[in-house]
C-alpha cells in the first residue's frame, strides 16, 4: 500500500503558488522531502495533515483522503512542526501526556506512552522541569516525542535538525533512522540539506518552487558508480602530492583512466583486477594506502542535471553549516 499519494495537488495563496500540480506516490519507509526554503515543503505537510485545504487536486495518506477524512488521518499521523510550539510553563511529561490524550489515548495509557517516548528520544530527569528552560536540542526532542506519543503509523517531521549543533544533528538523524527501522513507523522528513537525508532515507522526493523535481529511492540515487576513490600517503620524495601523482602516472600506464580530485584519485573501475593494480602500484612506489573505496553517486548530483542547474545555482547563498551539503552546491 502506498503511504502518500498526491494527484495534481496544488495550493495557491493569492498570487503565490506554494505547491503546483504535484503528483507523487510514496512507499512506506523513511522518506526525505528535499527542497530549498520556500519550496513548498511545509505547505505540503500541512495539506497532508488535512489542515490546509488544497486549491485543486487531491491527496491521500495511509489510504485516507486528507480533505474528507482529515481527523482520521491526524489520528494515525504525528506531526513535528518546524517552529517552536511548546508552552514554557508546562513540563515535557505533562505536555506529552496531554498530546497523547488529544490523540484519543486514555489518561493512564497516555502517561505510559509519554514516559516511553520521552525515554526513546533521550530525555530523562529534565522532563519534569518546565520547558521554558530547555535548550534547542531538548525542545526538538520533546517535539519529536509528542509526534510519537500516540504510536502513529506515520510521522511528518518538518526540519527536525533545524538549529541543532553537529552532535545534536547526528543524534536526531540516528533517531529518525530508528523510528523507521526499529519502531516500524514511516517517516516523512523535510530538509534543505541533502547530505543528512542521504544518510537516513530510503527514498527521496525533491521539490523546487512547489513542483516535483524527482522522486526515487535513495539506493537508486546513491547507487555505486564505476569509480574507485584512492588516497595514498607518503612517497619516495616524502611529499604526499608527489606520491599521488606518481601513482596516477603508474596507473595510467597500466591503461586505466585516472583523474585527480583534490588529494584523491578517481580511478576507473573495470573489474576486480583494478583493485590489484592499485594495490601493486602503491606497493611498488612505497606508498601507504589510506583509502580505497567505491564511489557512490551523491544526491547532490541530482541538482547538476542541466534542467535544474539554473534553479539550483540560485540557491547557493543558502546559509548552511557545511557548504558541501547545501542544496545545489556540487561536490568539489
Amino acid at each position: 500500500m502506498s503511504l502518500i499519494i498526491t494527484q495534481g495537488l496544488t495550493k495557491r495563496f493569492g498570487a503565490v503558488t506554494a505547491v503546483s500540480d504535484l503528483t507523487v506516490d510514496v512507499s512506506p519507509g523513511v522518506v526525505g522531502l528535499i527542497g530549498a526554503n520556500g519550496a513548498g515543503k511545509s505547505t505540503l505537510l500541512k495539506m497532508l495533515l488535512g489542515l490546509l485545504p488544497p486549491t485543486s487536486g487531491s491527496a491521500s495518506v495511509l489510504g485516507l483522503d486528507v480533505v474528507a477524512q482529515g481527523a482520521e488521518v491526524r489520528q494515525r499521523v504525528g506531526y513535528m512542526p518546524e517552529h517552536d510550539s511548546l508552552p514554557p510553563d508546562s513540563s515535557a511529561t505533562e505536555f506529552v501526556v496531554q498530546m497523547a490524550q488529544l490523540a484519543g489515548l486514555p489518561r493512564t495509557a497516555a502517561r505510559e506512552r509519554a514516559a516511553d517516548t520521552l525515554r526513546h528520544v533521550g530525555l530523562y530527569e529534565e522532563r519534569y522541569r518546565p520547558m521554558g528552560g530547555y535548550s534547542t536540542g531538548m525542545r526538538q526532542r520533546v517535539k519529536l516525542a509528542q509526534a510519537l506519543a500516540h504510536d502513529p503509523q506515520l510521522v511528518l517531521l518538518d526540519e527536525p535538525t533545524n538549529g541543532l549543533d553537529p552532535a545534536g544533528r547526528d543524534d536526531m538523524l540516528g533517531l529518525i533512522r530508528r523510528i523507521g527501522t526499529e519502531f516500524g513507523i514511516s517517516v516523512l522528513v523535510t530538509s534543505h540539506l541533502l547530505g543528512e537525508l542521504e544518510r537516513v532515507c530510503d527514498a527521496v522526493v525533491v521539490i523546487d518552487g512547489g513542483q516535483l523535481l524527482r522522486s526515487s529511492s535513495t539506493a537508486e540515487v546513491t547507487a555505486a558508480s564505476s569509480l574507485l576513490a584512492v588516497e595514498v600517503d607518503g612517497g619516495t620524495d616524502g611529499g604526499t602530492e608527489g606520491g599521488t601523482e606518481e601513482l596516477a602516472a603508474l596507473l595510467r600506464s597500466s591503461g586505466l583512466a585516472v583523474s585527480p580530485a583534490g588529494r584523491v584519485l578517481e580511478v576507473e573501475l573495470r573489474d576486480d583486477t583494478t583493485y590489484d593494480v592499485v594495490r601493486d602500484g602503491a606497493v611498488r612506489l612505497g606508498l601507504g594506502l589510506v583509502r580505497v573505496e567505491r564511489r557512490r553517486h551523491r544526491m547532490a548530483e541530482m541538482f547538476t542535471t542541466p534542467a535544474t542547474d539554473a534553479a539550483a545555482s540560485e540557491r547557493t547563498p543558502d546559509p548552511t553549516p557545511d557548504p558541501t551539503e547545501a542544496l545545489g552546491v556540487h561536490g568539489a
Binding site: 481527523a71 490524550q101 488529544l102 490523540a103 506512552r113
Partner: protein
C-alpha cells in the same frame, strides 16, 4: 542507527543508574473519539486555570484569589455561629456580587493563561495536528474557564452552606437559596468566561490581555453603576432597572432573580423586562461564541 533488534535487552547507562531498554513498544489499546478528546482538553484547561500541571509560579495567583474568595465566607460563618443568628448575615446570591472585583481579577488573570499562551507559543498548531476541530478547542477552553470560575464561586457558597447547617439554620430554606446561588454562579461563569476569552484570544501577549479584560469588566460595571444611580436619583426606576443589562454581573443577577427566583426585584420590571434581559444574556453568550469561532477559524496552523 542500528537496524537490528540487538538493541532489545541491552542496557543504557545514565547518571541515575541503569535503564533497561526494552525497545519500542507499539500501542494497541483503545483510541477514544472526539468526545474524549474534548474532555481531555477541557480538563487540561480547568486544571491549567488553577496552575495544576504547570509551573509552581502559575499556581500562585489562582490560589491567592481562591483563598481571598473563601475568607469572607469563613468569617461570615464564624460570626453567624458565634452570635447564634438564625440566618446568614449575607444572602447566598448576594455573595458573588459583593466580591465581583475578585471574580473579575480571576477571569482577567486566567483567561490569557488558557488561550493567549496557546497562541503566543503556537501550541495551537500542535493541538490542531490532532483529531480535534477548531470548534472543539473553542468549546473546551470555554468550558474549562467556566468550570474554573464556577469553582471559584461555588467553594465559598458551599462554605456558607456548611456553616449555616452546622449552626442549625433551617435546612430547606438554606439549600434552596444555595442552589439558586449556584445557578446564578453558573450563568455568571459562562458569560464572564466568554467575554474574557474573546479578549484574550485577540491579545497574544498575556499582560496586555489581563489589562484589557479587567478594564472592560470594570468599565462596564462602573458605567452600569453610574447610569443606575443617576436614573434612581431622577426617579426613573424603569431606566434604572434596564441599566442592569449593561454589566455582566448585574445582568446575570437580574436574570437569575427573575428565572431562578429570589424576589429581590432587581432588574427591568415586569414580563417584558424579564424577556429582554434573558434575550440580552443569550445574545451576549452567542456573540462571544461567534467571535471565538471566527477568531479561531483564522488562526494559522503554522
Amino acid at each position: 542507527m542500528s537496524t537490528a533488534p540487538e538493541h532489545a535487552g541491552s542496557a543504557v547507562t545514565s547518571e541515575q543508574g541503569v535503564i533497561h531498554d526494552i525497545g519500542y513498544r507499539h500501542y494497541d489499546g483503545p483510541r477514544l473519539g472526539r468526545g474524549a478528546i474534548r474532555r481531555a482538553m477541557f480538563l487540561e484547561g480547568l486544571r491549567g486555570a488553577y496552575g495544576l500541571g504547570r509551573s509552581a509560579r502559575s499556581k500562585v495567583v489562582p490560589a491567592l484569589l481562591l483563598a481571598a474568595m473563601c475568607l469572607p465566607a469563613l468569617i461570615l460563618v464564624i460570626v453567624a455561629s458565634v452570635t447564634g443568628a438564625s440566618r446568614l448575615p449575607l444572602n447566598y446570591t448576594a455573595y458573588p456580587l459583593n466580591l465581583q472585583v475578585l471574580v473579575a481579577i480571576f477571569v482577567a488573570a486566567q483567561a490569557p493563561v488558557l488561550v493567549s499562551r496557546d497562541l503566543r507559543f503556537r501550541v495551537v498548531s500542535l493541538y490542531f495536528s490532532r483529531p480535534m476541530e477548531r470548534i472543539d478547542y473553542v468549546l473546551a477552553r470555554w468550558a474549562g474557564l467556566t468550570g474554573a470560575v464556577l469553582l471559584l464561586l461555588a467553594l465559598p457558597l458551599t462554605i456558607l452552606l456548611a456553616g449555616a447547617l452546622l449552626s442549625q439554620m433551617p435546612l430547606g430554606e438554606q439549600v434552596g437559596d444555595y442552589l439558586r446561588a449556584l445557578g446564578q454562579a453558573a450563568l455568571l461563569a459562562v458569560l464572564l468566561s466568554g467575554i474574557a476569552l474573546v479578549i484574550a484570544a485577540v491579545t497574544p501577549r498575556r499582560g496586555l490581555g489581563v489589562a484589557a479584560i479587567i478594564t472592560v469588566l470594570l468599565v462596564l460595571s462602573g458605567v452600569q453603576a453610574t447610569v443606575e444611580s443617576i436614573a434612581v436619583n431622577e426617579g426613573e426606576g424603569t431606566l434604572g432597572g434596564y441599566s442592569r443589562l449593561l454589566s455582566p454581573s448585574t445582568l446575570v443577577a437580574a436574570v437569575s432573580d427573575d428565572v431562578l427566583g429570589g424576589g429581590t426585584g432587581v432588574g427591568p420590571p415586569d414580563a417584558i423586562g424579564t424577556s429582554v434581559e434573558i434575550l440580552v444574556y443569550l445574545a451576549a453568550v452567542a456573540a462571544c461564541y461567534g467571535l471565538l469561532v471566527l477568531r479561531y477559524r483564522k488562526v494559522s496552523v503554522s
